[in-house]
C-alpha cells in the first residue's frame, strides 16, 4: 500500500452533511471485479446530468478542483453501505485525504485499508480551510493541517498512523500473530464445540 506522509494539494469543498456511500459511488459501478478505474464515476449522480454531461456547478468539475487531492466535507461523511468502492473511487480520482467533522465507522476503517487519511477536525476549522486560497498541506507525522496561514492539529490513533506512514499490509501484520490464532482456535474447539461446521 502507498505510504502517506506529507501531502500538499488542492482541497475541494463539498460541505454537505451525511454524504453517503451511494452518493460517493452509486450501485451501478459496484459490478466491477477490480479495485481500479472508479475515479471517473466518483459522485456520479451529482457530477453528471442524466445524459452523462458534466454539471458545471459541481465542485469537481471546476478548474482548480479537477486535480484535487483533498476533500473538505460535512459531518458523518461516508455513512451508509460498507462498499470499499467508495474509498477506491476517491483514491482513483486522486483524493488522498478527507477532512470532515466526523466519519461513519465502516468508511473510516476502509480508508486505512487504502492509504487514505480521514482527518477529523471541527466544522469551523474546515469552513475556514475551505475559505482560504491556495493549497493545503496535511502533515501526518506532525498531525497538522496547514493552509492560508492557519495551522490545525488533529488526533489520530498511533496504530492507524503507523499503518499509513509505513504503508503496512494489515494481513501481513496479523500473520505475525498466527501462533496466537492457532492457540485460540484449539481452545475454542474445547470451549465452544458447537461452533464447528462440518458441512452445509
Amino acid at each position: 500500500m502507498d505510504p502517506f506522509t506529507v501531502l500538499t494539494g488542492t482541497a475541494a469543498p463539498l460541505l454537505r452533511a451525511n454524504i453517503d456511500t451511494d452518493l460517493i459511488i452509486p450501485k451501478q459501478f459496484l459490478k466491477t471485479l477490480v479495485r481500479s478505474g472508479l475515479g471517473r464515476n466518483l459522485f456520479h449522480e451529482i457530477r453528471y446530468d442524466s445524459d452523462g454531461r458534466e454539471r458545471p456547478d459541481f465542485v469537481l468539475n471546476q478548474a482548480p478542483y479537477r486535480k484535487a487531492s483533498i476533500l473538505l466535507a460535512g459531518p458523518n461523511f461516508g455513512c451508509g453501505s460498507s462498499r470499499e468502492h467508495a474509498p477506491w473511487a476517491l483514491k482513483d480520482f486522486g483524493i488522498r485525504a478527507i477532512l470532515a467533522p466526523s466519519f461513519a465507522d465502516i468508511f473510516f476503517n476502509n480508508c486505512f485499508s487504502n492509504g487514505l487519511l480521514p482527518v477529523t477536525l471541527p466544522g469551523e476549522a474546515i469552513e475556514s480551510l475551505a475559505a482560504c486560497e491556495g493549497p493545503l498541506t496535511i502533515d501526518l507525522p506532525a498531525q497538522q493541517v496547514r493552509g492560508g496561514g492557519q495551522t490545525f492539529t488533529f488526533e489520530i490513533e498511533a496504530a492507524r498512523k503507523a499503518v499509513l506512514l509505513e504503508g503496512l499490509d494489515e494481513i501481513k501484520r496479523t500473520e505475525a500473530n498466527l501462533a496466537d490464532i492457532t492457540a485460540y482456535e484449539a481452545r475454542r474447539r474445547q470451549e465452544a464445540p458447537w461452533l464447528d461446521i462440518q458441512k452445509v
Binding site: R16, A17, N18, D20, D22, L23, P26, K27, Q28, L30, K31, T32, L33, V34, R35, E45, I46, S50, G74, P75, N76, C79, G80, S81, S82, R83, E84, P87, S102, A104, D105, I106, N109, N110, S113, N114, G123, E157, A158, A159, A162, E170, I171, R173, T174, E175, N177, D180, I181, Y184, E185, R188, A192, P193, W194, L195, I197, Q198, K199, V200
Partner: protein, 469 residues
Amino acid sequence: MSPRTLYDKIWDEHLVTTRADGTSLLYIDRHLVHEVTSPQAFEGLREAGRPLRRPNAILSVADHNVPTIDREKGIADETCRLQVEALEANVASYGVPYLPLLDERQGIVHVVGPEQGFTLPGTTIVCGDSHTSTHGAFGALAFGIGTSEVEHVMATQTLPQRKSKNLRVRFEGALPAGLGAKDLALALIGRIGTAGGTGHVMEFTGDAVRALSMEGRMTLCNMSIEAGARSGLIAPDETTFAYLKGRPLAPKEALWDTALAHWRTLASDAQASFDTDVVLDVSALAPQVTWGTSPQWVTDVAGRVPDPDQATSAEDRQAMLRALEYMDLKPGTPIEDIALQAVFIGSCTNGRIEDLREAAAVARGRRVAAGIRALVVPGSGLVKRQAEAEGLDRIFTEAGFEWRQPGCSMCLGMNDDRLAEGVRCASTSNRNFEGRQGRGSRTHLVSPGMAAAAAVAGHFTDVRRLMGA
C-alpha cells in the same frame, strides 16, 4: 470480575490477543459472503498466494445482483452475470460452501444466515455488507466490513479491532397494535440521528423488544447501522432458542444443550455500565414515514412535511431544503396527502415471512391503486415457499402486486428492479438516500403494513384504518 455488558462478554470471548500497538485481534466465527464485495478479496488472496483459513466458517450466496423474475433463464445483464459467475468460480476453487441461485435456500445473505442456523448467539459475524448488524438480533456481535477486511478474515479468521462504546436503548411501554419493529427503528433514528450511534455498539432492551419475534428483532438490529452504530444487539432468550432449534446448521442433541447453557449467560449484567443511554416511550407511537433523503428525517403518518425555517441551524436548514427539493415536497404537506407511484415490499430489513404476512393482511381482498407498481420480493426461497404455502402469493397477485423471486432487488436496484427518475416509492427497505432505488427516485421508508396500505390507498395512510381495528 466487574459487571459486563453483553457486548463486553462477546468481545472478551473473542479476543485472540492485544497487540503492542494497542489494537485487539478479534476472532471471527462466521463470515457471510456475497458477489458484490468479495471478488477483489478473492483476487487479493490469489495474488498473495495465501490459503483461505477456514472455508467452512463461510456461507456464500449471490443476492445483490440477481434477477427476481425468470431466473431459470439465466442472468441477462452481462455485468451482473459476470459477478455472480466470479463468485461461483471463487467459492469452487477455495471450497467455500455456496447456495446456488436456483437452490431453494438462496436469498438475501442476512435472511439466509439465520434461516440456516449459521447465525448463532454469542458469535462474531462479519460480511462485506453494512446490514450485517441484522444478526445482532440473536445476541451475536455482527458488523459490516470492507473488501480488504473480507480478505483479512479469509486469510486469518481475525480482524484488528478497536473496542466500541456501549450504548443502551430502552424502549419503554408496549407498542400499539399495527406497529412493529420498523416503527421502533425509524423512531429511534429520528430521535438520535444517523450518526447517533457512531462509535457504539447498541443494545436494545425493554418490554417492546422482548415482545418482538425474531423477524422483528432482525428488522430492528438491521437498522442499527442507519443510526451509525457498529452493531445492534439483543440478548438471546426463549424466543431466540425456539427459532434456532432444528435449523440445519444449529447444534444438535448434546451439543445443543451445551450451547444452550452458554447462551443463557449472554445478557448484560444487572450492574453493567453503559457509556450512553437512550430511553424511548413507545406506548403512544404512531406509524413512521420518512420524508427526506436520510432515515433520520422521519415523522408520524399523521404528521406533516416539516418546514426548513424551523430548523435549529443554518446547515440543517440548507440540508432540509435540498432534501425537500430532491423529494419534490413542500413544507406543511400532510404525509397522508403524498401520492405514490411505486411500492416495494422486501429487503434484508423487511423481507421475512412475518413481514409478508403483515403486508398480505392489508392487501387481502383489496386492489393496488391505479397508477401504482407494487413489488413483493421475498427475502429467500424458503420465505417464498412458506408464503406460498400460506397462500400469501395469491393474496398479493389478486390484489395486483407482482410476486417475485428472492434477492436484494429494489432496495438498491443493482439488478433490473429500479425506479425511474422522479418516481415516488413507499419502501420497506432501509435507506432513502438520493438515487438509492434508481437515479432521481424518491424513497419513503415505512413498515410492511404501511407499504401495503399505501399501495391500496395510492397515498400514505395509517395502516390501522385498514386493519379493522
